[in-house]
Symmetry: C2
Subunit: 477 residues, 2 copies
C-alpha cells in the first residue's frame, strides 16, 4: 500500500480553524468546543433513535478538520490495516473534505488550482500522487490497468478511529453539514462542478437505442455553489474515447479511476439538457467502517459496515448507524455526490467534491441491550422524518460468498435478492425498535413502508425501505 | 359469464343526483354540467401533460353515477366482451363506486346494511350474487375453488365505454375526487373500515420467523371517514383458519375471493399496533382498460392497458393515460385501497371501499403526432408535481408469453425485469415528451429520476420511475 499517513495529533485548547484555503495543506486542525454536546443534543432532537441512549458527560468536545490530500485519502478500498489519521473520542466533531474520483473528467473545472485535488491526482511518467487505486494487485497482473487495477474506485478520506470502539459496538455518525467544494480555478470562481459518467457498468449500457451502441458518455454539470438556487445544470457532454494515461496504459473504457481525460481528443457538446434544472441532494455515496472479513476490500460493493450505499438521503441532517467490525471502527468518507436518483441508473451520480461535518457517537455493545440498537447488524439511516434500512443482494457478501467474494459479487446481484434482504431488515427494525410482533410488522410494511431501488450499479445491488417516524408513538385517543 | 348488465341510458338535462343511500340501487344517475369542461381545464392547470391537446368544444358535459352492485361489477377479470354500463363522451364525468374484494373478512364492518355490497357478496347454498370470480373455468374444473377459480380477485365496477375510442387512441382519466365509503352498519356509524391480508401470495410468506410459519393473517383497520385525522389504525387481527363457503367448498387458504369468514372460528386479537397511525393514501389499486389479446383476462397481473398497477399515487388529483386496445376502451375501476406502501409486500393494502369521480378525455390517434402522447404504449401517471411511468416484468405479458401467458406470468416475474422495463419507458418518455437525446435522457435518469418498487405480489411485478415536473421548462438565466 502506498498509504503514508504522517498525521500529527492535535492539541486541545485551540479554537476551531476557519478553514482558510491554506488549511487544506495542513494535515489536521482541531479545537475544543465546550458544551457543544448538549447543544447538539437538542439540535438532533428527541425523535432521534439513539438520543435517549446517548449521555455525553464530557465537558469538552474536540473538532477535527481533515483536509483531502494524497496524505489523507485511500483510493478504491476499505482496509482494517489502514493506520488511522486521528483517533477521536465519542462525541467529537470531524470536518472531512472529500474529493470526487471523477474530477479528472474535467481538470480545468475540478482539479486545477486546488492543492488537495492536485496532490491526489498528480500523475506523470514516473510518479502518481496516489499509486494504489483499487483492491487489486499492485503490479496490475490481472488486467494491466494500473496499481490496484481499479477494482474499487472511490477516493475515501480517512480512516478516523474512534477511541474504545470494538466489534459489536455501534457507531452513530451524525451528518451536521455538507458543503460543495468551490472550484479553485479563477476562471470559474464561485462555481462548483461535477461529472456524471454513463459508463459500461451502468444498467443502460447493453440496452441502448441510438448509435453507436455501448458508448460511454460523460456529462459535466455546474452546481450552484452559493446554495441559493440549489440546483445543477448541464454544461456539456462528451463521449469517452480511448485515453492513454501518463504511464503509457491505454484505457479504451472507463476502467481505472483518475485517468486524465485529454480534452483535445474528445468532442465537447454544449447546449445539452437545455432548460433542465436538477435540484441538488448533496450526500456521500460512500461512507462506512472497515469490514473484518478481508484486509483490502474493493470500495464498490456496499456491505454490513456501510460503504458505497449510494443513497442520496445520506446528506445533511441525516444520521447513520454502523456496526463496528474492527477495533477503532475506522470510518472513511468519499464518493461525494451533488445529486443522484434512486437506482443511480447509468453508473454514477453528479460526482462532485464535498466537505462534510460529522459528529461521531460510540454506542458500546454492553449498553445496547434493550435499546433500539440491539442486534443491529446492518447500516441504518435516520433522517428528520424517517428511518431507512438498506437491503443488499448479499447482506454480508464477504462472509456469504467465500474467498472469491470480491469477484463473484459482480455476477450474482439482483434487486430481487436485495428486496428480500430489505424486507428482513425492516422486519427486524420494526420488531426490535417498536416492539411489534411479526404479524404487526408484516402488515405495517405492506401498508406504510415504501421500498425503493437504491442502486443497481455497485456489484452488491441495493434497495431501501422507508418508514415514517410519524407513524409511531401516537397517543391513543 | 354471469354478467347481466341491464343498465338504462341516462337522459340529459337532469341535475346530478346527490347520491342518497337509495341511489346505489338505481343503476345510473346522470346530469348535465354546462361549462364544466372549461372550469376543469383551469383546475388541472397548464402543467398537465395533455392539456394543450385537449380542446373540449362541447358546451354541455354529462355526469354519470355508477353505483356498485351485483349488476354493475365484474369480479376478477377484465374482458373486451363485457357490455358497457354506459357510453360516455370525451369530457364527461363519471362517479364510480367501488367495493373491496376483502369486505367479507369482516361482514359486520364492511358489508352489513350496505345494499350494494350485500348484493355483490350474497351467497347461499343455491345462489351467489356474483357467480364468476376470476378468469378460470366456470365449472371450477382446475382447482375446485368455485366459478372462475379465483384466478383474478378484484371487484371491478364497469366497464365504461368512451364514444369513438378506438385502438391506438389514448384515454386520459382524471381522478377528481376519492371518498371513503362509510360503514352502513349503525353499530359503526360514521366510520369506515378496511382489511389487510398477509396472504400466501405475499413476498414474506415463505420467509417468516415466528411460529406457526406460513400462516395467513388478516388485520382489520379503521379508517378516518371524516378525513380530519387522515389516518388509519388497526382494530384487531386474526389468523385465517379453513373456511367452508356456503356452496360447501373448504378454503384452507385465501384462495377464492369473497369467502365469508366465520368469526366464530377465528381468534380476534385486539390491542395490536398500539399507538401506531398510518397516514392514508386513498387510491385505486386496479383501474384500466380491456386488453385486446385475450377475452377473459385475470385481473391480477397489470399490463399495458393498466389494471392492477397498485401504485398508491393513483389517487385524488392524479391523471392516468392508457392506450386504448379495444373499441370503446372499456374502463373498469376496483381494488380500492385506503393506504399501501411501495411493494405491497404482504399481498394486499388496506383494502377499503371507495368512490371516485373521474373525467374521461379521449385523445384520438390522428391527433397524437408530435404530442407528448405519441407512441405511448404503456400506462402513464401524472400527479401535480410528477410524471411516473410503470415498468412490469413483462410490458405486455399476454403478447409476450403466448397462449399460456395467464398462468406462466406467475412463475416468471422479477423486479430486475420490471426495472429494465421502467428504464426503457422512462427513456421513451424523456426522449418523446422533452425532446432529449438518449445520452441526455440516460444522464438525467441517473441523477434525478427515482426508481421504486410498486408491487411484488401481482404476478407481473412492477416498478415505477418518478421524474419531477419542476426539472423542465426552466428559462435559461
Amino acid at each position: 500500500m502506498n498509504h503514508d499517513h504522517d498525521h500529527k495529533a492535535c492539541s486541545d485548547g485551540e479554537l476551531p480553524a476557519k478553514a482558510p484555503d491554506t488549511g487544506r495543506r495542513q494535515f489536521l486542525q482541531c479545537g475544543t468546543l465546550a458544551g457543544a454536546a448538549a447543544a447538539f443534543g437538542s439540535t438532533i432532537g428527541a425523535a432521534s433513535l439513539a438520543h435517549a441512549q446517548t449521555a455525553l458527560t464530557r465537558s469538552t468536545i474536540s473538532h477535527y478538520h481533515i483536509p483531502a490530500s494524497d496524505k489523507t485519502i485511500h483510493w478504491g478500498y476499505f482496509s482494517k490495516s489502514l493506520k488511522e489519521l486521528v483517533t477521536v473520542e465519542s462525541g467529537d466533531f470531524v470536518t472531512i473534505e472529500t474529493i470526487t474520483h471523477h474530477a479528472y473528467d474535467d481538470y480545468e473545472r475540478m482539479i486545477k488550482g486546488d492543492p488537495g485535488a492536485e496532490s491526489i491526482y498528480y500523475w506523470d511518467k514516473t510518479r502518481k500522487g496516489v499509486n494504489r487505486r483499487g483492491a487489486g494487485p499492485m503490479d496490475a497482473s490481472l488486467f494491466g490497468r494500473g496499481a490496484g487495477e481499479g477494482l474499487g474506485v472511490h477516493i475515501c478520506t480517512g480512516p478516523v478511529a474512534v477511541k474504545d470502539a470494538q466489534p459489536g459496538d455501534i457507531l452513530e455518525v451524525r451528518i451536521l453539514d455538507v458543503k460543495l467544494r468551490p472550484c479553485a480555478n479563477p476562471k470559474y470562481k464561485g462555481k462548483s462542478f461535477g461529472s456524471n459518467a454513463a459508463a459500461w457498468w451502468g444498467f443502460h449500457y447493453k440496452d441502448m437505442i441510438e448509435e453507436p451502441k455501448e458508448r460511454e458518455v460523460i456529462t459535466i454539470y455546474e452546481v450552484d455553489a452559493a446554495g441559493e438556487r440549489n440546483c445543477a445544470k448541464a454544461v456539456y457532454n462528451f463521449r469517452w474515447v480511448p485515453q492513454t494515461d501518463p504511464s503509457g496504459v491505454l484505457h479504451k473504457t472507463i476502467d481505472y479511476p483518475g485517468v486524465p481525460v485529454d480534452h483535445s481528443l474528445v468532442q465537447e457538446n454544449f447546449g445539452i439538457l437545455k432548460n433542465v434544472r436538477v435540484p441538488i441532494r448533496p450526500h456521500f455515496g460512500t461512507m462506512g467502517l472497515a469490514p473484518a472479513e478481508a484486509d483490502i476490500v474493493d470500495s464498490i460493493p456496499p456491505s454490513y459496515t456501510g460503504g458505497n450505499i449510494d443513497n442520496w438521503r445520506i446528506g445533511k441532517g441525516a444520521t447513520m448507524y454502523y456496526p463496528v467490525a474492527v477495533p477503532g471502527g475506522l470510518l472513511s468518507v468519499g464518493d461525494p455526490h451533488a445529486s443522484q436518483g434512486d437506482s443511480e441508473l447509468c453508473g454514477t451520480a453528479i460526482e462532485c467534491s464535498l466537505t462534510g461535518t460529522f459528529q461521531l457517537i460510540l454506542h458500546k455493545k454492553a449498553a445496547l441491550a434493550g435499546t433500539a440498537l440491539e442486534n443491529l447488524n446492518y447500516p441504518l439511516l435516520e433522517t428528520q422524518d424517517e428511518f431507512i434500512v438498506h437491503g443488499f443482494s448479499f447482506a454480508n457478501y464477504l462472509a456469504e460468498l467465500g474467498p472469491k467474494a470480491q469477484s463473484e459479487i459482480y455476477s450474482k446481484s439482483s434487486i430481487d435478492l436485495a428486496l428480500r434482504d430489505a424486507f428482513r431488515k425492516m422486519r427486524h427494525f420494526l420488531m426490535t425498535t417498536q416492539g411489534l410482533s411479526e404479524d404487526e410488522a408484516v402488515s405495517l410494511m405492506s401498508i406504510a413502508v415504501d421500498f425503493g431501488i437504491t442502486q443497481v450499479v455497485d456489484g452488491n445491488w441495493g434497495t431501501h425501505a422507508i418508514v415514517k417516524k410519524s407513524l409511531f408513538g401516537v397517543d391513543e385517543a
